[in-house]
């Protein structure tokens, strides 16, 4: 797998934000020096503590922001974040929000409309699908959010933290759906601070700390180092 040329490769990438409003103020480097490759069909785990720069890295890979230094090469693949409830409007019903959200994710209107019945079934909303989403319980909203977001099928899918959502039953169902996609040789980047999830799901892992790549390798290697650091840190 690692012999083929990568789908995406990052070399010494850095990204800064301005600490004050707008474009002024001192630069804060959220990412300083990140390098790794992403290969077709693999599930890559990115592990790091809160504030390590994981969210910035996701936005960077999704093409939402650009690196301030270093290089990010994407050989023309579509990349997107699994965004639950993307662009949802409270006063519109489930169907309208599904269409809107799907279009924002880059799907054609006809393509989503063809999937609407499937979205309705998967979300188990029944008649509520035709009602405004501000009448939904949080569980129902989570189910609609996942069912819609799961329709997007980019070349590279970026998943942040949680696989499953909603109440216990739907959580199992959505986790199962994600896992089957992971096993289906899709290219997925999975970001977490939970080592166990990365160990279970990923083929390879990268550990990011303070905006820098610490180590890249098998989940076992990376997690061993990561946990060593966590224990050291806890002692101090």
């Amino acid at each position: 797998m690692s012999n083929s040329s990568p789908m995406m490769s990052l070399r010494n990438v850095g990204v800064y934000y301005r600490q004050h409003r707008g474009i002024f103020g001192a630069a804060f480097w959220a990412l300083k020096d990140v390098s790794f490759d992403l290969h077709a069909g693999e599930t890559l785990g990115i592990i790091g503590r809160n504030g390590a720069g994981k969210s910035t890295l996701m936005r960077l890979m999704a093409g939402i922001i650009r690196p301030n230094c270093g290089s990010l090469d994407n050989a023309g693949y579509s990349v997107s974040l699994l965004s639950l409830r993307l662009g949802f409007i409270p006063y519109l019903n489930g169907r309208e929000n599904a269409v809107l959200s799907g279009m924002l994710m880059g799907m054609r209107r006809k393509a989503i409309q063809a999937e609407l019945e499937r979205i309705k079934d998967f979300s188990e909303l029944g008649d509520f699908f035709e009602r405004p989403i501000n009448t939904y319980s949080s569980g129902m909203l989570a189910r609609l959010g996942f069912s819609v977001a799961f329709q997007a099928d980019p070349d590279i899918l970026l998943v942040d933290e949680v696989l499953g959502v909603g109440d216990a039953e739907f959580n199992r169902k959505s986790t199962a759906a994600m896992e089957s996609r992971i096993k289906a040789n899709k290219t997925i980047v999975f970001v977490s601070h939970n080592g166990e999830m990365v160990r279970q799901l990923c083929d390879r892992a990268v550990w990011i700390e303070n905006g820098e790549t610490q180590i890249e390798g098998t989940p076992h290697q990376v997690l061993t180092e990561y946990h060593k650091m966590l224990r050291l840190d806890a002692k101090h």
């Binding site: 934000y17 939402i64 409007i89 924002l104 405004p132």
Partner: protein, 254 residues
Amino acid sequence: MIKQYLDLILYKTYADLRAETERTYLGFLWWVFEPILFMGVFYVVFGILFDNGIQNFPQFLLIGLVTWQWMKSCFSHGEQTILNNHPLMQQIYLPKILFPIILVLTDSVKFVFIFTLLLIFLWTTAYPPTTTYLALPVLLFVQLLFIFAGTLFLAAIVPFLPDLRFVIENFLTAVFFMSGLFFKAADLVPEHLQFYFYLNPMATFIEDYRKVLMYQQWPDWNALLMISVFSVLGIIFSTWLLRRFEYVYPKITA
């Protein structure tokens, strides 16, 4: 790709309008009531309390207010579109120019309702359509160009300088009183200041709408041409700005 974004613009415009009608009990009736209430205030003050000596003052005033509000609502809402959509642009890449375009369309749909009512009001009072109505599409189109230029520009720069919002609001209020909504420029504005008075495109628009809708006169074509040229330049410049900062807007701490 363009086709896809066009579909998105139209659907999002529809969705935003639907959401707005669902938000209140009276729904879309507010698109009509709100401007009527707003205009009522000005009619009471400038039509009844002050004697301005203008014939058919309600029609005179309403034409000004309706066309002013179209521009004003686009500018005021437009300057906030990028910041309001900040959560969305953190999750997915979208060309930022879509947001102000959607806003202008949303507000323009509402304007179409009000403008239609205005025309019905004019026809049923003293001003039936005449041949000068042929100039109306041109007038509306040039004002739309001007609105796009202003809205795109404000949408592009206000995220960097949010304090500008207060300056802009007060500036618009000042221009509101200097656009000839309540008076005829020929009556009130001194000769040597008329040049400056007409530097404000809204002054030209309002006067031209009155010419076309009330006085059976043709609009000031030269002025409209000038405004079109500057508006197109403004649209090009603002589009360049929005593209220049395409990947910076998502990084602004809102």
